[in-house]
Protein backbone atom coordinates (compact mmCIF):
# COMPACT_ATOMS: atom_id res chain seq x y z
CA UNK A 1 0.00 0.00 0.00
CA UNK A 2 1.28 3.43 -0.85
CA UNK A 3 2.06 5.30 2.33
CA UNK A 4 -0.08 8.30 3.11
CA UNK A 5 1.34 11.40 1.58
CA UNK A 6 1.77 14.42 3.76
CA UNK A 7 -0.52 17.16 2.59
CA UNK A 8 -1.34 20.05 4.87
CA UNK A 9 -4.05 21.16 2.45
CA UNK A 10 -6.02 18.18 3.71
CA UNK A 11 -7.06 20.46 6.55
CA UNK A 12 -9.51 22.11 4.16
CA UNK A 13 -11.31 18.82 3.72
CA UNK A 14 -11.52 18.34 7.43
CA UNK A 15 -12.52 21.92 8.12
CA UNK A 16 -16.31 21.62 7.80
CA UNK A 17 -16.39 18.68 10.23
CA UNK A 18 -13.99 20.39 12.54
CA UNK A 19 -16.02 23.58 12.61
CA UNK A 20 -19.36 21.93 13.21
CA UNK A 21 -18.07 19.67 15.94
CA UNK A 22 -16.09 22.49 17.49
CA UNK A 23 -19.20 24.62 17.47
CA UNK A 24 -21.15 21.80 19.05
CA UNK A 25 -18.51 20.76 21.48
CA UNK A 26 -15.90 23.34 22.21
CA UNK A 27 -18.11 26.38 22.65
CA UNK A 28 -20.53 24.64 24.99
CA UNK A 29 -17.62 23.15 26.91
CA UNK A 30 -16.05 26.54 27.29
CA UNK A 31 -19.34 27.77 28.63
CA UNK A 32 -19.35 24.96 31.10
CA UNK A 33 -15.80 25.67 32.17
CA UNK A 34 -16.74 29.26 32.50
CA UNK A 35 -19.63 28.52 34.79
CA UNK A 36 -17.66 26.06 36.81
CA UNK A 37 -15.34 28.73 38.11
CA UNK A 38 -17.83 31.47 38.66
CA UNK A 39 -20.88 32.19 40.73
CA UNK A 40 -23.90 34.27 40.00
CA UNK A 41 -26.63 35.80 41.99
CA UNK A 42 -28.72 36.38 38.92
CA UNK A 43 -28.97 39.24 36.49
CA UNK A 44 -25.99 37.88 34.62
CA UNK A 45 -23.55 39.10 37.19
CA UNK A 46 -20.70 36.65 37.71
CA UNK A 47 -17.94 36.53 40.24
CA UNK A 48 -14.84 34.41 40.15
CA UNK A 49 -14.75 31.63 42.71
CA UNK A 50 -11.89 29.51 41.41
CA UNK A 51 -11.99 25.90 42.44
CA UNK A 52 -14.76 26.38 44.99
CA UNK A 53 -17.43 24.55 43.05
CA UNK A 54 -15.07 21.63 42.51
CA UNK A 55 -14.22 21.50 46.17
CA UNK A 56 -17.92 21.56 47.02
CA UNK A 57 -18.53 18.84 44.52
CA UNK A 58 -15.91 16.48 45.84
CA UNK A 59 -17.36 16.86 49.31
CA UNK A 60 -20.97 16.95 48.27
CA UNK A 61 -23.18 14.17 49.58
CA UNK A 62 -25.46 14.55 46.63
CA UNK A 63 -22.62 14.01 44.18
CA UNK A 64 -21.29 11.03 46.09
CA UNK A 65 -24.73 9.52 46.17
CA UNK A 66 -25.30 9.99 42.45
CA UNK A 67 -21.81 8.77 41.57
CA UNK A 68 -22.14 5.67 43.71
CA UNK A 69 -25.59 4.89 42.35
CA UNK A 70 -24.17 5.27 38.87
CA UNK A 71 -21.24 2.96 39.56
CA UNK A 72 -23.47 0.37 41.15
CA UNK A 73 -25.88 0.57 38.25
CA UNK A 74 -23.19 0.21 35.59
CA UNK A 75 -21.58 -2.60 37.55
CA UNK A 76 -24.80 -4.58 37.86
CA UNK A 77 -25.57 -3.99 34.20
CA UNK A 78 -22.21 -5.38 33.13
CA UNK A 79 -22.45 -8.34 35.46
CA UNK A 80 -25.75 -9.35 33.93
CA UNK A 81 -25.48 -8.33 30.29
CA UNK A 82 -22.01 -9.61 29.47
CA UNK A 83 -22.33 -13.24 30.63
CA UNK A 84 -25.92 -13.36 29.38
CA UNK A 85 -24.83 -12.02 26.01
CA UNK A 86 -22.07 -14.60 25.73
CA UNK A 87 -24.37 -17.49 26.68
CA UNK A 88 -26.97 -16.45 24.10
CA UNK A 89 -24.37 -15.88 21.39
CA UNK A 90 -22.97 -19.37 22.03
CA UNK A 91 -26.43 -20.86 21.69
CA UNK A 92 -27.40 -19.07 18.49
CA UNK A 93 -27.60 -21.09 15.27
CA UNK A 94 -24.85 -20.58 12.73
CA UNK A 95 -26.75 -21.76 9.67
CA UNK A 96 -30.26 -22.10 8.43
CA UNK A 97 -33.46 -20.13 8.69
CA UNK A 98 -32.88 -19.55 12.39
CA UNK A 99 -30.12 -17.08 11.69
CA UNK A 100 -32.08 -14.18 10.14
CA UNK A 101 -34.95 -14.78 12.56
CA UNK A 102 -32.61 -14.48 15.52
CA UNK A 103 -30.80 -11.47 14.12
CA UNK A 104 -33.99 -9.54 13.35
CA UNK A 105 -35.63 -10.40 16.64
CA UNK A 106 -32.60 -9.38 18.63
CA UNK A 107 -31.95 -6.20 16.71
CA UNK A 108 -35.44 -4.83 17.26
CA UNK A 109 -35.02 -3.45 20.80
CA UNK A 110 -31.83 -1.70 19.71
CA UNK A 111 -33.68 0.44 17.22
CA UNK A 112 -36.51 1.65 19.39
CA UNK A 113 -36.35 5.32 20.44
CA UNK A 114 -35.14 5.40 24.00
CA UNK A 115 -38.15 7.22 25.36
CA UNK A 116 -40.42 4.58 23.82
CA UNK A 117 -38.33 1.96 25.57
CA UNK A 118 -39.07 3.80 28.77
CA UNK A 119 -42.75 4.09 27.92
CA UNK A 120 -43.03 0.41 27.05
CA UNK A 121 -41.64 -0.61 30.41
CA UNK A 122 -43.50 2.06 32.27
CA UNK A 123 -46.71 0.53 30.96
CA UNK A 124 -45.49 -3.04 31.25
CA UNK A 125 -44.69 -2.66 34.89
CA UNK A 126 -47.91 -1.09 36.01
CA UNK A 127 -50.16 -3.22 38.10
CA UNK A 128 -53.36 -2.01 36.47
CA UNK A 129 -52.57 -2.06 32.79
CA UNK A 130 -49.24 -3.79 32.37
CA UNK A 131 -48.73 -7.47 31.71
CA UNK A 132 -45.80 -7.75 34.09
CA UNK A 133 -47.29 -5.72 36.90
CA UNK A 134 -50.66 -7.41 36.65
CA UNK A 135 -49.16 -10.88 36.59
CA UNK A 136 -46.97 -10.18 39.59
CA UNK A 137 -49.90 -8.74 41.49
CA UNK A 138 -52.12 -11.71 40.74
CA UNK A 139 -49.31 -13.94 42.04
CA UNK A 140 -49.50 -12.03 45.28
CA UNK A 141 -46.17 -10.26 44.88
CA UNK A 142 -46.15 -6.69 46.04
CA UNK A 143 -44.65 -4.68 43.20
CA UNK A 144 -44.83 -0.95 42.75
CA UNK A 145 -41.98 0.75 41.00
CA UNK A 146 -43.21 4.25 41.71
CA UNK A 147 -43.08 3.81 45.44
CA UNK A 148 -40.60 1.06 46.17
CA UNK A 149 -36.96 1.90 45.39
CA UNK A 150 -35.98 -1.74 45.07
CA UNK A 151 -38.78 -2.38 42.61
CA UNK A 152 -37.76 0.74 40.73
CA UNK A 153 -34.15 -0.42 40.46
CA UNK A 154 -35.15 -3.90 39.40
CA UNK A 155 -37.49 -2.56 36.76
CA UNK A 156 -34.87 -0.25 35.31
CA UNK A 157 -32.23 -2.97 35.31
CA UNK A 158 -34.47 -5.45 33.59
CA UNK A 159 -35.41 -2.79 31.10
CA UNK A 160 -31.76 -2.08 30.32
CA UNK A 161 -31.05 -5.79 29.97
CA UNK A 162 -34.02 -6.01 27.60
CA UNK A 163 -32.80 -3.00 25.67
CA UNK A 164 -29.11 -3.57 25.31
CA UNK A 165 -28.11 -7.21 25.84
CA UNK A 166 -28.65 -7.75 22.12
CA UNK A 167 -25.69 -5.50 21.44
CA UNK A 168 -23.43 -7.82 23.41
CA UNK A 169 -25.04 -10.84 21.76
CA UNK A 170 -24.56 -9.53 18.24
CA UNK A 171 -20.96 -8.50 18.82
CA UNK A 172 -20.06 -11.85 20.41
CA UNK A 173 -21.90 -13.71 17.70
CA UNK A 174 -19.90 -11.90 15.03
CA UNK A 175 -16.73 -12.89 16.87
CA UNK A 176 -17.83 -16.50 17.09
CA UNK A 177 -18.75 -16.67 13.42
CA UNK A 178 -15.23 -15.74 12.48
CA UNK A 179 -13.85 -18.96 13.96
CA UNK A 180 -13.14 -21.43 11.14
CA UNK A 181 -14.70 -24.88 11.48
CA UNK A 182 -11.27 -26.45 11.48
CA UNK A 183 -10.71 -25.29 15.06
CA UNK A 184 -13.76 -27.16 16.29
CA UNK A 185 -12.75 -30.23 14.29
CA UNK A 186 -9.24 -30.14 15.70
CA UNK A 187 -10.65 -29.80 19.20
CA UNK A 188 -12.81 -32.87 18.65
CA UNK A 189 -9.83 -34.80 17.38
CA UNK A 190 -7.85 -33.69 20.42
CA UNK A 191 -10.61 -34.97 22.65
CA UNK A 192 -11.34 -31.57 24.20
CA UNK A 193 -14.32 -31.17 26.50
CA UNK A 194 -17.06 -28.60 25.85
CA UNK A 195 -15.63 -26.37 28.55
CA UNK A 196 -12.15 -26.63 27.07
CA UNK A 197 -13.50 -25.63 23.66
CA UNK A 198 -15.06 -22.54 25.21
CA UNK A 199 -11.99 -21.65 27.26
CA UNK A 200 -9.30 -22.24 24.66
CA UNK A 201 -10.98 -21.54 21.34
CA UNK A 202 -14.13 -19.46 21.65
CA UNK A 203 -13.24 -17.09 24.46
CA UNK A 204 -9.82 -16.07 23.05
CA UNK A 205 -11.34 -15.39 19.64
CA UNK A 206 -14.12 -13.34 21.16
CA UNK A 207 -11.73 -11.34 23.25
CA UNK A 208 -11.56 -8.35 20.99
CA UNK A 209 -15.26 -7.95 20.39
CA UNK A 210 -16.00 -8.67 24.03
CA UNK A 211 -13.79 -5.77 24.97
CA UNK A 212 -15.66 -3.45 22.62
CA UNK A 213 -18.97 -4.67 24.01
CA UNK A 214 -17.90 -4.23 27.65
CA UNK A 215 -16.54 -0.75 27.15
CA UNK A 216 -19.49 0.42 25.06
CA UNK A 217 -21.96 -0.87 27.63
CA UNK A 218 -20.03 0.60 30.53
CA UNK A 219 -19.85 4.01 28.94
CA UNK A 220 -23.41 4.12 27.68
CA UNK A 221 -24.80 2.85 30.96
CA UNK A 222 -22.74 5.48 32.74
CA UNK A 223 -24.44 8.16 30.65
CA UNK A 224 -27.95 6.76 30.82
CA UNK A 225 -30.69 9.32 30.96
CA UNK A 226 -33.84 8.86 28.93
CA UNK A 227 -35.11 5.43 29.85
CA UNK A 228 -35.00 5.72 33.63
CA UNK A 229 -36.24 9.29 33.36
CA UNK A 230 -39.35 8.17 31.52
CA UNK A 231 -40.12 5.34 33.87
CA UNK A 232 -39.44 6.83 37.26
CA UNK A 233 -38.27 10.37 36.66
CA UNK A 234 -35.49 9.65 39.10
CA UNK A 235 -37.78 8.52 41.88
CA UNK A 236 -39.10 7.38 44.16
CA UNK A 237 -37.29 10.18 45.97
CA UNK A 238 -33.96 10.10 44.24
CA UNK A 239 -33.34 6.39 44.49
CA UNK A 240 -32.98 6.16 40.74
CA UNK A 241 -31.44 9.55 40.12
CA UNK A 242 -28.40 8.56 38.14
CA UNK A 243 -25.68 11.01 37.28
CA UNK A 244 -27.09 12.30 34.01
CA UNK A 245 -30.51 12.80 35.51
CA UNK A 246 -29.06 14.59 38.50
CA UNK A 247 -26.96 16.78 36.28
CA UNK A 248 -29.83 17.83 34.08
CA UNK A 249 -31.96 18.50 37.11
CA UNK A 250 -29.29 20.76 38.48
CA UNK A 251 -28.53 22.53 35.25
CA UNK A 252 -31.77 22.85 33.38
CA UNK A 253 -34.18 22.40 36.23
CA UNK A 254 -32.67 24.30 39.09
CA UNK A 255 -30.36 26.44 37.04
CA UNK A 256 -27.58 25.89 39.55
CA UNK A 257 -25.05 26.73 36.95
CA UNK A 258 -21.92 26.58 39.03
CA UNK A 259 -22.34 23.20 40.67
CA UNK A 260 -23.84 21.77 37.49
CA UNK A 261 -20.89 22.94 35.47
CA UNK A 262 -18.37 21.54 37.91
CA UNK A 263 -20.17 18.23 37.94
CA UNK A 264 -20.34 18.23 34.16
CA UNK A 265 -16.61 18.58 33.91
CA UNK A 266 -15.85 15.88 36.43
CA UNK A 267 -18.40 13.61 34.75
CA UNK A 268 -16.92 14.25 31.33
CA UNK A 269 -13.40 13.72 32.61
CA UNK A 270 -14.29 10.34 34.06
CA UNK A 271 -15.71 9.27 30.72
CA UNK A 272 -12.73 10.66 28.81
CA UNK A 273 -10.47 8.64 31.03
CA UNK A 274 -12.45 5.54 30.20
CA UNK A 275 -12.31 6.45 26.51
CA UNK A 276 -8.55 6.77 26.66
CA UNK A 277 -8.26 3.42 28.41
CA UNK A 278 -10.49 1.97 25.69
CA UNK A 279 -8.34 3.38 22.90
CA UNK A 280 -5.09 2.21 24.48
CA UNK A 281 -6.25 -1.29 25.35
CA UNK A 282 -7.84 -1.74 21.94
CA UNK A 283 -4.65 -0.72 20.14
CA UNK A 284 -2.65 -3.12 22.26
CA UNK A 285 -5.03 -5.98 21.70
CA UNK A 286 -4.99 -5.17 18.01
CA UNK A 287 -1.19 -5.17 17.96
CA UNK A 288 -0.96 -8.42 19.84
CA UNK A 289 -3.18 -10.27 17.48
CA UNK A 290 -1.36 -8.91 14.44
CA UNK A 291 2.08 -9.65 15.86
CA UNK A 292 0.97 -13.14 16.68
CA UNK A 293 0.23 -13.45 13.02
CA UNK A 294 -1.91 -16.12 11.49
Amino acid sequence: MIAKQTNQKAWFMVLPVFLVVAFSAVIPLMTVVNYSVQDTFGNNVFTWVGMDWFKDLIHSERFHAAFLKQLMFSGIILLIEVPLGIVIALAMPKKGWGVPVCLIGMALPLLIPWNVVGTIWQIFGRVDIGLLGHTLASLGIHYNYTQDPVAAWITIIIMDVWHWTSLVVLLCYAGLCSIPDAYYQAAKIDGASRLAVFRYIQLPKMQRVLLIAILLRFMDSFMIYTEPFVITGGGPGNSTTFMSIDLVKMAVGQFDLGPAAAMSLVYFLVILLLCWVFYTVMSNVGEESSNGGK
Partner: protein
Protein backbone atom coordinates in the same frame (compact mmCIF):
# COMPACT_ATOMS: atom_id res chain seq x y z
CA UNK B 1 -27.21 -30.14 23.71
CA UNK B 2 -30.22 -30.69 21.57
CA UNK B 3 -32.22 -28.10 23.46
CA UNK B 4 -29.66 -25.40 22.73
CA UNK B 5 -32.14 -23.56 20.53
CA UNK B 6 -34.30 -22.96 23.57
CA UNK B 7 -31.94 -20.29 24.83
CA UNK B 8 -32.25 -17.85 21.92
CA UNK B 9 -35.92 -18.77 21.61
CA UNK B 10 -36.68 -17.81 25.21
CA UNK B 11 -34.63 -14.67 24.87
CA UNK B 12 -36.43 -13.54 21.73
CA UNK B 13 -39.76 -14.30 23.39
CA UNK B 14 -38.66 -12.09 26.28
CA UNK B 15 -37.74 -9.34 23.80
CA UNK B 16 -41.00 -9.49 21.91
CA UNK B 17 -43.28 -9.69 24.93
CA UNK B 18 -43.32 -6.01 25.91
CA UNK B 19 -43.60 -4.99 22.26
CA UNK B 20 -46.58 -7.26 21.79
CA UNK B 21 -48.11 -5.70 24.88
CA UNK B 22 -47.67 -2.24 23.44
CA UNK B 23 -49.28 -3.25 20.16
CA UNK B 24 -52.03 -4.94 22.10
CA UNK B 25 -52.74 -1.79 24.01
CA UNK B 26 -52.65 0.40 20.95
CA UNK B 27 -55.53 -1.56 19.48
CA UNK B 28 -57.79 -1.22 22.51
CA UNK B 29 -60.04 1.58 23.56
CA UNK B 30 -59.17 3.50 26.69
CA UNK B 31 -62.21 2.12 28.47
CA UNK B 32 -61.15 -1.41 27.82
CA UNK B 33 -57.59 -0.71 28.97
CA UNK B 34 -58.68 0.78 32.25
CA UNK B 35 -61.52 -1.57 33.02
CA UNK B 36 -60.54 -5.11 32.18
CA UNK B 37 -57.30 -6.90 31.71
CA UNK B 38 -57.25 -8.79 28.44
CA UNK B 39 -54.47 -10.44 26.53
CA UNK B 40 -55.85 -9.33 23.21
CA UNK B 41 -58.33 -6.58 22.37
CA UNK B 42 -61.89 -7.47 23.01
CA UNK B 43 -63.06 -4.57 20.91
CA UNK B 44 -60.38 -4.16 18.30
CA UNK B 45 -60.10 -0.56 17.28
CA UNK B 46 -57.88 1.60 15.16
CA UNK B 47 -59.22 4.76 16.73
CA UNK B 48 -55.96 5.45 18.53
CA UNK B 49 -54.03 5.43 15.31
CA UNK B 50 -56.65 7.63 13.76
CA UNK B 51 -56.12 10.19 16.48
CA UNK B 52 -52.44 10.34 15.74
CA UNK B 53 -52.94 10.71 12.03
CA UNK B 54 -55.55 13.41 12.41
CA UNK B 55 -54.46 15.36 15.47
CA UNK B 56 -51.82 17.87 14.49
CA UNK B 57 -50.27 17.95 17.93
CA UNK B 58 -49.41 14.30 17.45
CA UNK B 59 -48.47 13.86 13.84
CA UNK B 60 -46.50 17.05 13.79
CA UNK B 61 -44.20 15.30 16.19
CA UNK B 62 -43.39 12.61 13.65
CA UNK B 63 -42.95 15.14 10.91
CA UNK B 64 -40.62 17.21 13.06
CA UNK B 65 -38.56 14.18 13.96
CA UNK B 66 -38.31 13.09 10.35
CA UNK B 67 -37.27 16.59 9.32
CA UNK B 68 -34.42 17.09 11.70
CA UNK B 69 -33.23 13.52 11.39
CA UNK B 70 -33.08 13.86 7.62
CA UNK B 71 -31.24 17.17 7.83
CA UNK B 72 -28.81 15.61 10.24
CA UNK B 73 -28.14 12.63 8.02
CA UNK B 74 -27.51 14.86 5.02
CA UNK B 75 -25.18 17.16 6.93
CA UNK B 76 -23.35 14.29 8.60
CA UNK B 77 -22.71 12.32 5.46
CA UNK B 78 -21.88 15.33 3.29
CA UNK B 79 -19.40 16.83 5.73
CA UNK B 80 -17.94 13.52 6.75
CA UNK B 81 -17.09 12.42 3.23
CA UNK B 82 -14.24 14.84 2.52
CA UNK B 83 -13.01 14.62 6.10
CA UNK B 84 -12.90 10.82 6.03
CA UNK B 85 -11.09 11.00 2.71
CA UNK B 86 -8.49 13.30 4.23
CA UNK B 87 -7.94 10.98 7.19
CA UNK B 88 -7.75 7.98 4.96
CA UNK B 89 -5.42 9.32 2.28
CA UNK B 90 -3.27 12.01 3.83
CA UNK B 91 -1.21 12.62 6.89
CA UNK B 92 -1.12 16.14 8.19
CA UNK B 93 -0.22 18.05 11.27
CA UNK B 94 -2.29 16.85 14.20
CA UNK B 95 -4.24 14.25 12.25
CA UNK B 96 -4.10 11.50 14.85
CA UNK B 97 -5.05 13.89 17.63
CA UNK B 98 -7.88 15.32 15.61
CA UNK B 99 -9.27 11.86 14.94
CA UNK B 100 -9.09 10.93 18.58
CA UNK B 101 -10.75 14.20 19.61
CA UNK B 102 -13.57 13.51 17.19
CA UNK B 103 -14.07 10.09 18.72
CA UNK B 104 -14.23 11.52 22.22
CA UNK B 105 -17.22 13.56 21.19
CA UNK B 106 -19.07 10.40 20.37
CA UNK B 107 -18.45 9.48 24.01
CA UNK B 108 -19.69 12.78 25.39
CA UNK B 109 -22.58 12.53 27.83
CA UNK B 110 -25.47 14.50 26.35
CA UNK B 111 -26.41 15.59 29.86
CA UNK B 112 -23.29 17.71 30.01
CA UNK B 113 -24.31 19.53 26.88
CA UNK B 114 -27.99 20.02 27.60
CA UNK B 115 -27.75 23.38 29.29
CA UNK B 116 -24.90 24.85 27.22
CA UNK B 117 -26.71 23.90 24.02
CA UNK B 118 -29.86 25.49 25.32
CA UNK B 119 -28.05 28.74 25.97
CA UNK B 120 -25.99 28.62 22.81
CA UNK B 121 -28.84 28.05 20.42
CA UNK B 122 -31.08 30.50 22.22
CA UNK B 123 -28.44 33.16 21.96
CA UNK B 124 -28.15 32.77 18.20
CA UNK B 125 -31.89 32.63 17.79
CA UNK B 126 -32.07 29.02 16.67
CA UNK B 127 -34.02 27.74 19.62
CA UNK B 128 -36.99 25.56 18.67
CA UNK B 129 -35.87 24.99 15.08
CA UNK B 130 -35.21 21.76 13.25
CA UNK B 131 -31.80 22.91 12.18
CA UNK B 132 -30.78 23.36 15.79
CA UNK B 133 -31.48 19.75 16.66
CA UNK B 134 -29.88 18.59 13.43
CA UNK B 135 -26.65 20.44 14.22
CA UNK B 136 -26.74 19.43 17.87
CA UNK B 137 -26.93 15.78 16.88
CA UNK B 138 -23.87 16.33 14.74
CA UNK B 139 -21.94 16.33 18.00
CA UNK B 140 -21.99 12.56 18.06
CA UNK B 141 -23.10 11.71 14.53
CA UNK B 142 -20.33 13.51 12.65
CA UNK B 143 -17.53 11.66 14.47
CA UNK B 144 -19.39 8.40 13.96
CA UNK B 145 -19.83 9.14 10.25
CA UNK B 146 -16.17 10.03 9.83
CA UNK B 147 -15.14 6.92 11.73
CA UNK B 148 -17.27 4.54 9.67
CA UNK B 149 -16.52 6.18 6.31
CA UNK B 150 -12.79 6.27 7.00
CA UNK B 151 -12.90 2.55 7.59
CA UNK B 152 -14.60 1.91 4.27
CA UNK B 153 -12.38 4.31 2.39
CA UNK B 154 -9.24 2.70 3.70
CA UNK B 155 -10.42 -0.46 2.02
CA UNK B 156 -10.20 1.18 -1.39
CA UNK B 157 -6.64 0.99 -2.75
CA UNK B 158 -4.99 4.36 -3.32
CA UNK B 159 -4.02 3.14 -6.76
CA UNK B 160 -7.53 3.91 -7.91
CA UNK B 161 -7.10 7.54 -6.97
CA UNK B 162 -3.73 7.73 -8.67
CA UNK B 163 -5.06 6.19 -11.86
CA UNK B 164 -7.91 8.66 -12.02
CA UNK B 165 -5.63 11.65 -11.59
CA UNK B 166 -3.27 10.33 -14.22
CA UNK B 167 -6.28 9.95 -16.50
CA UNK B 168 -6.96 13.63 -16.07
CA UNK B 169 -9.86 13.65 -13.62
CA UNK B 170 -10.21 16.73 -11.51
CA UNK B 171 -10.60 15.92 -7.84
CA UNK B 172 -14.33 16.73 -7.55
CA UNK B 173 -15.11 14.72 -10.67
CA UNK B 174 -13.03 11.79 -9.46
CA UNK B 175 -14.70 11.87 -6.09
CA UNK B 176 -18.24 11.92 -7.41
CA UNK B 177 -17.91 9.66 -10.42
CA UNK B 178 -15.37 7.09 -9.25
CA UNK B 179 -14.85 7.13 -5.52
CA UNK B 180 -18.38 7.43 -4.22
CA UNK B 181 -19.78 4.49 -6.20
CA UNK B 182 -17.00 2.36 -4.72
CA UNK B 183 -17.98 3.12 -1.16
CA UNK B 184 -21.73 3.17 -1.79
CA UNK B 185 -22.34 0.48 0.81
CA UNK B 186 -20.26 2.39 3.31
CA UNK B 187 -22.33 5.50 2.75
CA UNK B 188 -25.44 3.38 3.21
CA UNK B 189 -24.20 2.00 6.52
CA UNK B 190 -23.21 5.47 7.71
CA UNK B 191 -26.54 7.00 6.78
CA UNK B 192 -28.30 4.14 8.55
CA UNK B 193 -26.43 4.65 11.82
CA UNK B 194 -26.78 8.42 11.73
CA UNK B 195 -30.48 8.04 11.11
CA UNK B 196 -30.91 5.60 13.98
CA UNK B 197 -28.91 7.54 16.56
CA UNK B 198 -30.63 10.78 15.73
CA UNK B 199 -34.06 9.19 15.66
CA UNK B 200 -33.71 7.65 19.11
CA UNK B 201 -32.14 10.58 20.91
CA UNK B 202 -34.42 12.41 23.31
CA UNK B 203 -32.55 14.64 25.71
CA UNK B 204 -31.00 17.13 23.32
CA UNK B 205 -33.99 17.07 21.00
CA UNK B 206 -36.29 17.95 23.86
CA UNK B 207 -34.06 20.59 25.37
CA UNK B 208 -33.70 22.51 22.15
CA UNK B 209 -37.33 22.55 21.10
CA UNK B 210 -40.54 23.98 22.42
CA UNK B 211 -43.43 23.93 20.00
CA UNK B 212 -42.42 24.31 16.39
CA UNK B 213 -39.89 21.60 16.13
CA UNK B 214 -41.02 19.35 18.93
CA UNK B 215 -40.12 15.76 18.12
CA UNK B 216 -42.43 12.86 18.71
CA UNK B 217 -40.29 11.63 21.58
CA UNK B 218 -40.86 14.86 23.45
CA UNK B 219 -44.57 14.89 22.79
CA UNK B 220 -44.84 11.42 24.18
CA UNK B 221 -42.93 12.24 27.32
CA UNK B 222 -44.86 15.39 27.85
CA UNK B 223 -48.07 13.48 27.70
CA UNK B 224 -46.77 11.16 30.36
CA UNK B 225 -46.63 13.77 33.07
CA UNK B 226 -50.24 14.76 32.57
CA UNK B 227 -52.90 12.86 34.41
CA UNK B 228 -55.95 11.29 32.82
CA UNK B 229 -53.63 9.55 30.40
CA UNK B 230 -54.78 8.48 26.99
CA UNK B 231 -52.99 5.16 27.13
CA UNK B 232 -54.30 3.87 23.86
CA UNK B 233 -53.05 6.84 21.91
CA UNK B 234 -49.74 6.76 23.72
CA UNK B 235 -49.29 3.11 22.85
CA UNK B 236 -50.18 3.78 19.23
CA UNK B 237 -47.67 6.60 19.11
CA UNK B 238 -45.03 4.25 20.47
CA UNK B 239 -45.79 1.57 17.93
CA UNK B 240 -45.47 4.11 15.15
CA UNK B 241 -42.00 5.09 16.30
CA UNK B 242 -40.87 1.48 16.23
CA UNK B 243 -41.97 1.10 12.63
CA UNK B 244 -39.02 2.83 10.92
CA UNK B 245 -36.57 0.62 12.82
CA UNK B 246 -38.51 -2.54 12.09
CA UNK B 247 -38.79 -1.68 8.40
CA UNK B 248 -35.10 -0.96 8.11
CA UNK B 249 -34.13 -4.23 9.76
CA UNK B 250 -36.51 -6.11 7.53
CA UNK B 251 -35.02 -4.62 4.40
CA UNK B 252 -31.41 -5.22 5.36
CA UNK B 253 -31.94 -8.62 7.01
CA UNK B 254 -30.11 -10.49 4.29
CA UNK B 255 -27.16 -8.15 4.42
CA UNK B 256 -26.95 -8.53 8.18
CA UNK B 257 -27.03 -12.33 7.98
CA UNK B 258 -24.49 -12.36 5.18
CA UNK B 259 -22.21 -10.02 7.04
CA UNK B 260 -22.03 -12.35 9.99
CA UNK B 261 -21.57 -15.39 7.76
CA UNK B 262 -18.55 -13.79 6.19
CA UNK B 263 -17.06 -13.51 9.61
CA UNK B 264 -16.13 -9.90 9.33
CA UNK B 265 -15.73 -8.13 12.59
Amino acid sequence: MRLKWLIPAIYIFFLLLPIYWLVNMSLKTNEEILSVFTLWPRDLTFANYKVIFTDASWYSGYINSMIYVSINVVISVTFALPAAYAFSRYSFVGDKHLFFWLLTNRMAPPAVFALPFFQLYSSIGLFDTHIAVAIAHCLFNLPLAVWILEGFMSGIPKEIDETAFVDGYSWPRFFVKIFIPNIASGIGVTAFFCFMFSWVELLLARTLTAVNAKPISAIMTRTVSASGLDWGVLAAAGVLTILPGALVIYFVRNHIAKGFALGRV
